[in-house]
């Protein structure tokens, strides 16, 4: 015996699906000119992105060619950087970029996730509204302002308090934390870039948390879970794809961040050994020196090649992130196909 409800639920679903399938094939016939025109506009839009991407890569490779040709693959691990003697190597900048990005992500992701949880599940709605608005404003602050904030506030704080503290505690056991407290360096740059990523990750995470299906949350409570258990084991798991996606965006932002880093990282092409050390990132190097570099084709080529490396890093992380996303969403996709 079918209940009226089953009938109501199942029949429209079946016709909807059939409708979807035929629509794909018959759309041009049924919809006529305007639909076809719209289709072409969309195709044109998609194509132009492809073309733009291709052109950018091509131009960069051509501009970087003298350097690629001259140094080959060893450009990646060479630390030489002497424009007068025409020696260029990317290693310190790659490492500096990874340091700053790593610190930015490690410091910002937990803060972002906890503030998102607070906003979606714990804060009263009036407070959540205020904090959310502030957070969105934070995302709009120009990076130069973050840089200035870093110089006037973070650098002294790190130099006089936090970095000596790290050196005296963790530094006793791990050399990694036992550097000279300079204030400027990868830690200052990383933390400030972290501030810039927090709103991004937190906003996406909060929005996904608010969209978790209430039935799933109820299922957890009905098994005798507490609120904290439900939030951490069910809701957080549920929004993982959103978090991963926003972290990838955050990574892109951190890797490419220029102004704030340039003001804070110290701009020394040395390889940071401790978290307190100064360094140099690819984007801050380019911003600082590209205007001088253009007078010498090889110098310019080396800098463009650094830009290409930045692009490759971003693409690689995007691809990895996409894999991870697919894996996380695997069940979800299967669910939308096989669900009853």
């Amino acid at each position: 015996m079918e209940t009226p409800e089953t009938v109501r639920r199942d029949i429209p679903k079946a016709t909807e699906q059939a409708g979807d399938r035929t629509e794909v094939r018959e759309a041009p016939d049924l919809a006529g000119r305007s639909e076809r025109l719209f289709g072409w506009i969309l195709k044109g839009g998609g194509l132009s992105i492809l073309v733009l991407f291709g052109v950018v890569i091509l131009v960069c490779v051509v501009a970087a060619w003298p350097s690629i040709h001259r140094f080959g693959i060893s450009f990646l691990w060479s630390s030489a950087w002497n424009p007068n003697r025409k020696l260029f190597g990317a290693f310190p900048y790659i490492v500096g970029t990874l340091w700053v990005t790593g610190i930015a992500l490690v410091t910002s992701i937990p803060v972002a996730i906890f503030s998102a949880l607070f906003l979606s599940d714990y804060a009263p709605s009036w407070l959540s509204g205020i904090v959310s608005t502030l957070m969105e404003m934070l995302a709009g602050i120009p990076s130069i302002v973050f840089g200035a904030f870093g110089i006037t506030f973070m650098v002294p704080l790190l130099r006089d308090h936090f970095e000596p503290f790290l050196a005296n505690t963790l530094g006793k056991h791990w050399d990694f934390f036992n550097g000279d407290p300079l204030g400027y360096g990868v830690l200052a740059a990383g933390i400030v870039v972290g501030f810039m990523i927090v709103p991004l990750v937190a906003t996406v995470t909060r929005d996904s948390l608010l969209m978790v299906p209430p039935e799933m949350v109820e299922a957890s409570y009905a098994l005798g879970a507490t609120k904290a258990e439900t939030v951490f084991f069910i809701k957080l798991r549920e929004v993982m794809p959103g978090i991963v996606g926003s972290v990838i965006l955050g990574f892109g932002r951190a890797v490419g961040e220029t102004m704030a880093v340039l003001l804070l990282v110290g701009n020394q092409p040395s390889i940071p050994q401790t978290i307190q050390d100064v360094g140099y990132t690819i984007s801050s190097l380019l911003a600082n020196t590209f205007t001088y570099a253009v007078i010498d084709p090889l110098y310019a080529a080396a800098e463009v090649e650094l830009g290409l490396i930045l692009l490759v890093i971003t693409l690689a992380v995007n691809t990895l992130g996409r894999e991870l996303l697919l894996r996380l969403m695997g069940g979800r996709l299967a669910g939308s196909v096989g669900g009853g």
Partner: protein, 250 residues
Amino acid sequence: MARMSVSGFYAYYGDNPALRNISLEIPDRQVLALIGPSGCGKTTFLRSLNRMNDFVKGFSVKGQVALDDIDIYSSGLHPVVLRRRVGMVFQKPNPFHKSIFENVAYGLRIQGIRSRSILSDRVEQSLRSAALWEEVKDRLNSSAFSLSGGQQQRLCIARALAVEPEVLLLDEPASALDPISTARIEELIQDLKTQYAIVIVTHNMQQAARVSDQTAFFLTGEMVEIGVTSRIFTNPSDERTEDYITGRFG
């Protein structure tokens, strides 16, 4: 012996009474069926028995609901503890985005059970009780969403059984299922009632007649009558009950 007893119970969404003056007993090791037209308050009643309505803004209650003579609303019995003892399966299957195994193990894990062997024993036992084991034993690690709707519903039943509740609330557990899965679930209910007190909401009169020992008929927030199922279906004392079960309305 009554496992739960409800007396003079009222439930309100804001100012609207969804349940009025309900009094009934939920006997141990028996199946109580709740029948009645859509919107009469069956789900509201079921969810009042394990305080799932606490999450609904503006919901309030009056009267008593007791589990083993302890009032669940006023005794200080924590809802988390209550819900471990009064389990629930929802109208629509709602598995977690976890593997089949982890869906069933979740309720145990949050009780602090870590031992892999205890977990897998209890998971297997629950899946067997829910008549799902044979279908999933080779793919316990695949996502719960790779199951069909009927399998998902049995998974939700297994998940509720794993925490070994004393009372099991089933809200139209078979409404989205094909006749074979429905028959399976009905058999399962017969097995389960040897251990649990079961309350089942159903729109299917035959199902109510087949699986339940007692039947209560609800209408617009009131309980019209309750009694032994065979009597309710053959010789109801209220005309409205008769109209409903013979299909004259609702």
